[in-house]
Amino acid sequence: MAQETVPDEVAQTERAAFRAELLASGMLIDGGVDGLYQRSGAFERIVRGVEAVASQAGAGIGGPQRYFSPLMAKAAFERTDYLRSFPDLIGAIGVFRGTDADHTALLRAAHAGEDWTAFLTPADVALCSAACHSLYSTLPATIPEGGLRYEVQGYCFRHEPSIDPVRMQSFRMHEFVCVGEAEDAVTHRNAWLERGLEVLAGLGLDVQAEEANDPFFGRAGRMLAANQREMTLKFEITSPVSTSQVRTAIASANYHESHFGGTFGLTAIDGGVAHSSCFGFGLERICLALLARHGMNPDQWPESVRSALWR
């Protein structure tokens, strides 16, 4: 996300210490590569509390709920335009479709420590980069008046291995999405930014809203990032998490303009290309922010926080 800086020594030391504390307490278990973790029951209990708080914030206005697989149809993935904007973060899936002879060659390569994935071919699924991506291809081509709202949750993959616990390769977003006319989308984004701040402050977190941009790739990306800032399309709710030096985005509020409406062929009731926006709670990051703020033992967290999460 946007707050990436040149890692200074203090920040890196603090991040490593936070990671060590999470692993030593058993809250998270090292998944074998940087940025991949197994979650303890205690961690997952916090995540589910946060999920419940987020869901409750949308009660009655969030729309139908959708829970997505970590995978999405490759054809829909291509329409998100992530190949253009974030080629460095995406992940595709390879599958084995070979013969016995190919299998033998694959095993020989694996045994020799060579690249056995060279024997795989592309699957018709890809890893989701953002939860709301799975939604758009399932919407009606003409969005009804007033727009459509959905509450969605899904696993996201970002290839950015790091020892910083906030930068997981696999994590969940709990989102509130709106697709409709421009005004529907902007109103939704702005209302949720306010609501998100209230919800997260209610958990005792030190939060603030900041204008932000996505880490678009390359020269074209610098232009997209500048546009995003110039048009104030993206806000992040930040909090101190793994270091005191840099605030981390734990939620974000994004106005996509007509981007997804255009690539997924969605038309608003005014006849123009549909606009969309989303507000996403980063479930693992909020959980980490709570652990950083209130300590590694949730039994000792303030009663107000405990009752909000697990009423």
């Binding site: 335009d81 253009r84 020269r219 074209a220 610098r222 232009m223 997209l224 500048a226 546009n227 995003q228 110039e230 048009m231 303009e257 007509s258 981007h259 255009g262």
Partner: protein, 82 residues
């Protein structure tokens, strides 16, 4: 110059209107140019004029109209001509 820019727009801008009907000073964003399409226009102009836009010009405003784009390209090309 403006004619080449129009060719780039025809190829990359995905405007819902005929490029021939667009005035040199018309605001392309009002006509429907999207952020993502404006990036394609930027890359198309770089190819067409064999230039590279400096970071300071990699913003939406640089591609707001045909005349603004022409000024930007001239500004990049001019120093090279010295």
């Amino acid at each position: 110059m403006e004619e080449t820019i129009r060719q780039v727009l025809a190829e990359y801008a995905q405007l819902p209107v005929d490029i021939a009907a667009v005035g040199d000073d018309d605001d392309l964003y009002i006509l429907g140019l999207t952020s993502h399409a404006s990036v394609n226009v930027m890359l198309g102009l770089e190819d067409a004029f064999d230039v590279e836009f400096p970071d300071a010009l990699l913003r939406k405003g640089t591609f707001r109209s045909i005349s603004v784009m022409a000024d930007a390209v001239r500004g990049i090309v001019a120093p090279k001509a010295d």
